[in-house]
C-alpha cells in the first residue's frame, strides 16, 4: 500500500509539480515515459514519489516517446490505469500511437506541457503540439495555472474513464509560463482526491486470459468508417460527462470549471478568444480596457476537443467584433482557434466581425499592454461596423509590420 503524502492546505508548486502530485494521487498502475523539457519534472517527480513509496505502480523507462505511448497503449489494453507526460518533439513522435490509443478507446491520461515545435529548436511554450494532436481523437483540456493543472489532471482521469466516454485525455499547460512558475496551489488530501477519481474499472482487459480479445483489429473499407463514426460520437457526446465531472469537482474543491470559460462577457461589445496562461493575463487587460470605457470580455474553450461550438456561438451572440488569438504558427491560413470560432458562428448564422492574432510563439512574452492593443484594434472594428483592421496580425513581433488580409 502506498504511503500517504503529507500536504499542506496551501502548497507552492509549479505546474509540473502540480501535475505530478495529481498523477500520484490517482494511483496510476503504469507510467511509461521518456522525459522531455519542459515536462521532464512531471516524470522526474513521479519517479521520486514511486521510489519513496508514495505510489504502488510501475514506472517504465523507454527509449523514445513512440515507445512511451506504445507501452501506455499496451498497459491500458492489459487493464491498468495509465498515464504519461510529454512536450513538443516528444508529442510529435507519439502522434502515430495517439490515434491508436483513441481508436482502441483506452482512457490514458497525458499531462502535456505545451512547447514549440522545431525547427528552429525552441524549448519554450506555445500551442504547436496541442494543435498537432488536435484530430487524434483525444479530449484536450486546457489549464492556465498550476492550480488548474492539478485540478484538471484529477478531472481528466474521471472524464476519460467514464463508461460513457472511455477516451484518452490530455491536460495542457503552457511550457515554463505554467510548468516552471511556482504559484499557490490548494491540493486535495490524498484520500479525498482518490475518492473523487475512484477505482479504475478495466474494460475488455487483455490480461483476462479466460476471455481473450484482439486489440487493434484490421477493418478496411467495410468497417473503418463505422468505427470512426462511433468513436467521433463518443467524443462529441462527452460534453455532459465533462460538465458532470466539473460539477462533482466543485463539490469537493469549491473550484468550478466550465466547458467554455468567460470573463466579463455578458455586457461586452467585443470579445477576445484565447486559451492558456495568456487568458489570465488578458483578464488584466480587460479590466484596464473597461477603465478606458471599452466594453470587452473574454472567452476560452476550456476543452479544445471536443470543441464546444454551440456554446461558443451562444456566448458570443451579442458581441459585434471578435479577435481570436492563436499561440501557434498558422502556416498558410488563419489560426486554428480563429477557424473554430468562425465556423461556430457561421453555423448559427451569426456574423460578428472576426480577426486573428498570432502571439507568443516559442515563449515570446505577451504582456497586458500587448493585449490591450488588440482590444483597442478590435474596438475599431466594432465601431466601424466592418473590418477595418488586418485579418491576421502578429503580436510583439520584431521588424516591419506583418499582416495578412
Amino acid at each position: 500500500m502506498a504511503e500517504r503524502y503529507e500536504l499542506k492546505q496551501k502548497e507552492v508548486w509549479d505546474g509540473n509539480m502540480a501535475a505530478a502530485h495529481a498523477l500520484r494521487q490517482a494511483q496510476v498502475d503504469v507510467v511509461a515515459a521518456y522525459p522531455i523539457t519542459p515536462s521532464t519534472p512531471i516524470v522526474q517527480n513521479y519517479a521520486q514519489f514511486l521510489a519513496d513509496g508514495y505510489v504502488d505502480g510501475e514506472f517504465i523507462m523507454v527509449e523514445s516517446e513512440h515507445s512511451a505511448m506504445s507501452a501506455c497503449v499496451g498497459a491500458a489494453a492489459a487493464g491498468g490505469r495509465v498515464a504519461t507526460a510529454t512536450s513538443s518533439q516528444g508529442y510529435a513522435l507519439m502522434v502515430e500511437v495517439l490515434y491508436q490509443a483513441s481508436g482502441m478507446r483506452l482512457p490514458i491520461v497525458m499531462t502535456v506541457v505545451n512547447r514549440a515545435l522545431a525547427s528552429p529548436l525552441n524549448i519554450h511554450g506555445d500551442h504547436s503540439d496541442l494543435y498537432l494532436g488536435r484530430d487524434a481523437g483525444w479530449i484536450h483540456i486546457i489549464a492556465n495555472n498550476p492550480q488548474e493543472a492539478y485540478d484538471l489532471t484529477l478531472c481528466a482521469f474521471r472524464i476519460g474513464e467514464d463508461e460513457r466516454v472511455r477516451l484518452p485525455v490530455t491536460t495542457n499547460q503552457d511550457g515554463f509560463l505554467v510548468s516552471h512558475t511556482a504559484q499557490v496551489v490548494e491540493p486535495l488530501q490524498d484520500e479525498e482526491a482518490y475518492k473523487f477519481i475512484g477505482e479504475y474499472k478495466a474494460l475488455n482487459p487483455m490480461l483476462d486470459t479466460k476471455n481473450p480479445v484482439t486489440y487493434g483489429a484490421q477493418t478496411e473499407e467495410e468497417w473503418h468508417f463505422e468505427h470512426k463514426a462511433n468513436q467521433h460520437k463518443a467524443l462529441m457526446e462527452s460534453f455532459p460527462v465533462i460538465e458532470e465531472v466539473f460539477n462533482e469537482f466543485e463539490k469537493v474543491s469549491g473550484r468550478k470549471y466550465n466547458v467554455v470559460e468567460t470573463y466579463k462577457l455578458d455586457d461586452a461589445d467585443i470579445a477576445l478568444v484565447l486559451m492558456g496562461s495568456a487568458y489570465e493575463t488578458a483578464m488584466l487587460a480587460v479590466d484596464k480596457a473597461r477603465e478606458e470605457g471599452i466594453k470587452v470580455g473574454l472567452l476560452m474553450p476550456r476543452v479544445f476537443r471536443p470543441f464546444p461550438y454551440n456554446e461558443v456561438a451562444e456566448k458570443l451572440k451579442n458581441v459585434k467584433a471578435i479577435a481570436a488569438l492563436d499561440r501557434s504558427a498558422p502556416m498558410g491560413t488563419t489560426g486554428a482557434l480563429y477557424n473554430e470560432v468562425a465556423g461556430a458562428l457561421a453555423a448559427k448564422g451569426q456574423s460578428a466581425i472576426m480577426t486573428n492574432y498570432i502571439y507568443g510563439l516559442g515563449g515570446r512574452d505577451t504582456t497586458v499592454e500587448h493585449i490591450l492593443e488588440v482590444i483597442r484594434e478590435t474596438e475599431k472594428n466594432a465601431k466601424a461596423g466592418k473590418r477595418v483592421t488586418d485579418l491576421q496580425g502578429f503580436i510583439n513581433l520584431r521588424g516591419p509590420k506583418l499582416s495578412f488580409n
Binding site: 512558475t181 511556482a182 504559484q183 499557490v184 496562461s277 489570465e280 488584466l284
Partner: protein
C-alpha cells in the same frame, strides 16, 4: 504587487531562491508567483528569476515587470548594465560584492543614483555553507532591507523549507542567512 527580479548565473540557485521566497511569503497568506527566464544553455550563463507577491491571486503570466527589488547574487553580473533594465528610481538593488558601496558605484556607474545595498553573499556562503551558493544569504539581506515580514518568522519558514537537506547544510544556511542579515548595508 511586490515585484522582485533576481540576476544570477545558471547553477547559483536563483530559481531555488526565488521559489523559497515565494514559499515563505505564501505561508503568510500572500499569493505568489516564482519563475525564471533561461534557455537550454550551460551552467554559468547569466539568467534571471522573478518573484511576484500580492494580496490577490496573480493572473499576469507575462515575464515583463518593473521590479521593486533587484537582487544580484553574482559579483560579476553587478557590472552588467542589464540589471537596471525596466527599473524606476524607487527600485532597490541588493547586490553581491566584496567591495564597499562607494568603491562599487565608482566602477558600476549604471548604479549611481540608485538605491543600492551591498552584501558579500559569495564570501558568506563560502564560509558558512562551504560552497559559493549565494541564494540563501541574499534572502537574509532581502529580509533586512525590505522588512517585509519579521525575521524570526522568516527563519522558522526557511528552516522548514530546507528540512529535506542534511542537518549540516541547514545549519550552514541559517548561519549564512543571519550573517547576511547583519552584514548588508
Amino acid at each position: 504587487m511586490l515585484q522582485i527580479r533576481w540576476h544570477s548565473r545558471a547553477g547559483q540557485g536563483a530559481v531555488t531562491g526565488a521559489k523559497a521566497l515565494a514559499d515563505v511569503m505564501a505561508r503568510t497568506g500572500k499569493y505568489v508567483q516564482a519563475y525564471s527566464v533561461y534557455g537550454a544553455e550551460k551552467r554559468g550563463a547569466p539568467m534571471t528569476a522573478y518573484d511576484k507577491i500580492d494580496d490577490k491571486p496573480i493572473l499576469d503570466h507575462s515575464k515583463w515587470m518593473t521590479p521593486d527589488y533587484v537582487l544580484v547574487i553574482d559579483p560579476s553580473l553587478v557590472f552588467q548594465e542589464e540589471i537596471v533594465d525596466n527599473t524606476t528610481d524607487d527600485t532597490i538593488f541588493i547586490v553581491t560584492s566584496h567591495m564597499d558601496k562607494e568603491d562599487l558605484l565608482s566602477v558600476a556607474k549604471h548604479l549611481q543614483g540608485k538605491k543600492v545595498y551591498v552584501v558579500d553573499a559569495i564570501k558568506i556562503s563560502q564560509e558558512e555553507i562551504g560552497r559559493a551558493i549565494p541564494n540563501t544569504p541574499m534572502l537574509g539581506a532581502f529580509m533586512k532591507v525590505s522588512g517585509i515580514i519579521p525575521f524570526e518568522d522568516f527563519l522558522v519558514s526557511i528552516e522548514d523549507i530546507l528540512s529535506k537537506f542534511p542537518k549540516k547544510i541547514i545549519e550552514g544556511n541559517l548561519r549564512a542567512i543571519k550573517r547576511a542579515y547583519e552584514e548588508v548595508k
